[in-house]
């Protein structure tokens, strides 16, 4: 997939604020292209989570159009969304959505085994670089949020993707780990040519962005 575009997209909850809304995304035509990186800066309550939910087909409460390679997503069947989530759009959820009863490795593996995209060695080395190697076989429920954020990041990369969507990926990370995450992400980008869309309400993931959008 090459592009994701929005045409006059507006969440239903913002309808009443239509005339006063100041945004680079809502009610505009925006195109995210493969190979580029985007930073979506947002204040709390400006619809950042809504945008992410729209991009992975979790929510559809918007007006305007959302197009994948020019194709209107409104009529995508469930199977198409499943395919997109599995092979085209990778997503690091702000609320992580890990499974606390599984170990860190199992959390990555449950995603990875859908496509067998990464080897166990790659997963282990990513854990190693992110400083959570000793937590590989620890249940996620017993880990700190910062550690869980890194597990969720590794899981997000354990699939083929044209767009990597990271919702506040470093909100609970120190600068060193943020830089390590950025380095791993850059390697993935270079290897796959995927676009990166990062959202932030303050702390940015330190990579070079082609475009910054204010929500």
């Amino acid at each position: 997939m090459q592009t994701i575009s929005t045409e006059s997209l507006l969440p239903h909850v913002f309808r009443e604020r239509r005339d006063t809304l100041q945004s680079d995304v809502w009610l505009r035509d925006v195109t995210f292209e493969r190979g580029h990186s985007y930073l979506v800066e947002a204040m709390s309550g400006t619809g950042k989570s809504s945008l992410c939910a729209y991009l992975i087909g979790y929510r559809h409460d918007f007006e305007g159009r959302l197009l994948f390679d020019g194709e209107d997503s409104t009529r995508f069947p469930d199977a198409r969304w499943t395919e997109l989530r599995r092979c085209a759009v990778s997503y690091l959820f702000q609320e992580l959505r890990l499974f606390p009863e599984l170990t860190a490795f199992e959390n990555v593996e449950i995603k990875n085994r859908l496509t067998r995209h990464k080897s166990a060695a790659w997963i282990e080395s990513a854990f190693e670089r992110l400083g959570i190697a000793e937590k590989l076989h620890t249940k996620v429920g017993l880990m700190s949020f910062g550690q869980q954020q890194r597990v969720a990041f590794v899981r997000a990369l354990a699939q083929p993707a044209d767009f990597i969507l990271l919702d506040e990926p470093v909100s609970h990370l120190d600068d060193i780990n943020s830089r390590i995450m950025a380095a791993i992400l850059e390697e993935e980008r270079r290897a796959s040519g995927a676009a990166v869309i990062v959202t932030s309400i303050g702390k940015h993931l330190p990579i070079s962005y082609d475009r910054t959008l204010h929500l």
Binding site: T82, F99, E101
Partner: protein, 397 residues
């Protein structure tokens, strides 16, 4: 699948599953029992004994005190026969012809005489006897006579005689091994014949021989005696035709009650079997309801996990699969257990019934298995669809 199951088995309630398992087992077992019981017993009441189908009735004139005292004839005249044959319900009418001479016969098995008695023979036209012509043929003067005995004789022998003397019991298949010695006493002479028993009839309460033998022996031993029939055999289109009892009442005729009593018993058996099967189905339905509630509760408790799986790229069918396999496995186990549990109970009731009806052999278990299988498939299909729909509903958050 292993990881998926590790995740989704959380909150699976063993108690609820066990509750469903036992309830469904009871339900399916009762349904299968109802069907099997009906299948095993129904032939006893609608028994087509191989010689006379269900479409025959035997008609005689009603015997009352007045008719006995006045000496009025119990015999059917030719007009009576013609009128009966002209009725719309009748396909054909045959006369019973009785032996006009004295007969004594002794019966035994394996050379051991069981009992002897004075008796009589009757015959109906060969077209009314559904037996292969070579078994039922007789040539004038031949010493071996084919015979069909009333089934009551068999019961009499098996329970009265064989039991007390420690003799082997006789089944239908062993009929031809009965030694039957027939002595015909006519004026001034006695002749010996050998009876070849070809089977037993529960529909005709008489000792039946070929028409040809009766005609020949009556002419040979007691020529000139009146042989007007006192009983008629009527082949009808539909034995349940209500014009039959109306006509019989109007003419003062009687039909033999055996078939009708069997009909009533079969009717009650059907009601009982339907009720039992109905109760079984109700139990199945309730158990199915328990399972659905249990699965819904399970999906509800695991909502977040299921949603997360869908959001990381799992399809609805893949996420539904563990629960679908779980319910299918439980249903299948219930079916296998119900089938196994049916066997000892069936053996027990067949054994009990065999004491009274020795010829009961038990029907094929196929209808009961089919009933169980249909329940299994239906429950599994509904489970599968319901689980999928429930998981699909989670998709939109």
């Amino acid at each position: 699948m292993r990881l998926l199951w590790k995740l989704l088995r959380q909150h699976v309630s063993t108690a609820q599953l066990a509750g469903f398992f036992l309830a469904n087992l009871a339900g399916m077992w009762i349904v299968m029992l109802g069907v099997q019981f009906y299948g095993d017993l129904a032939p006893m009441f609608s028994r087509d004994d191989g010689f006379f189908g269900a479409n025959y009735i035997v008609v005689s004139k009603r015997i009352s005190t007045i008719s006995t005292l006045s000496g009025s004839s119990q015999a059917f005249s030719d007009d009576d026969v013609d009128e009966l044959a002209a009725q719309p319900f009748a396909r054909g009418v045959g006369r019973f012809t009785s032996s006009q001479y004295k007969v004594t016969a002794s019966m035994g098995i394996k050379g051991c005489a069981a009992f002897g008695s004075e008796l009589f023979f009757e015959a109906v036209p060969d077209s009314f006897v559904e037996v292969s012509p070579q078994d039922w043929q007789y040539a004038d003067g031949e010493r071996t006579v084919p015979v069909i005995l009333p089934r009551t004789y068999l019961a009499l022998y098996n329970f009265g005689f064989a039991q007390s003397r420690g003799l082997p019991k006789i089944s239908d298949a062993m009929a031809s091994r009965i030694d039957m010695r027939i002595l015909v006493h006519a004026t001034g002479r006695t002749e010996t014949f050998t009876g070849h028993v070809i089977g037993f009839s529960s529909r005709l309460n008489t000792i039946l021989v070929p028409q040809r033998f009766i005609d020949w022996s009556n002419a040979a031993f007691e020529p000139g005696k009146d042989d007007s029939p006192t009983r008629l055999i009527v082949r009808v289109y539909n034995p349940a035709d209500e014009r039959i009892p109306a006509y019989m009442d109007a003419r003062g005729y009687e039909t033999e009650q055996g078939a009708m009593d069997a009909g009533k018993a079969a009717y009650f058996l059907r009601i009982v079997a339907t009720m039992v099967t109905g109760i079984g189905l109700l139990v199945c339905l309730l158990s199915f309801y328990i399972l659905m509630l249990s699965v819904y509760l399970l999906v509800q408790k695991n909502t977040r996990k299921l949603q997360n799986l869908l959001l990381i790229g799992y399809s609805t069918s893949r996420v539904s699969l563990p629960y679908q396999l779980l319910t299918t496995g439980v249903n299948l186990t219930v079916f296998v257990l119900a089938t196994l549990l049916l066997q000892p109970l069936r053996a027990w009731y067949l054994g009990t019934i065999a004491l009274v009806f020795p010829h009961v052999q038990g029907a094929s278990p196929l209808p009961a298995l089919t009933a169980g299988l249909v329940l299994l498939l239906l429950a599994t299909l509904l489970n599968t669809l319901a689980i999928r729909r429930k998981v699909e509903a989670l998709k939109r958050g």
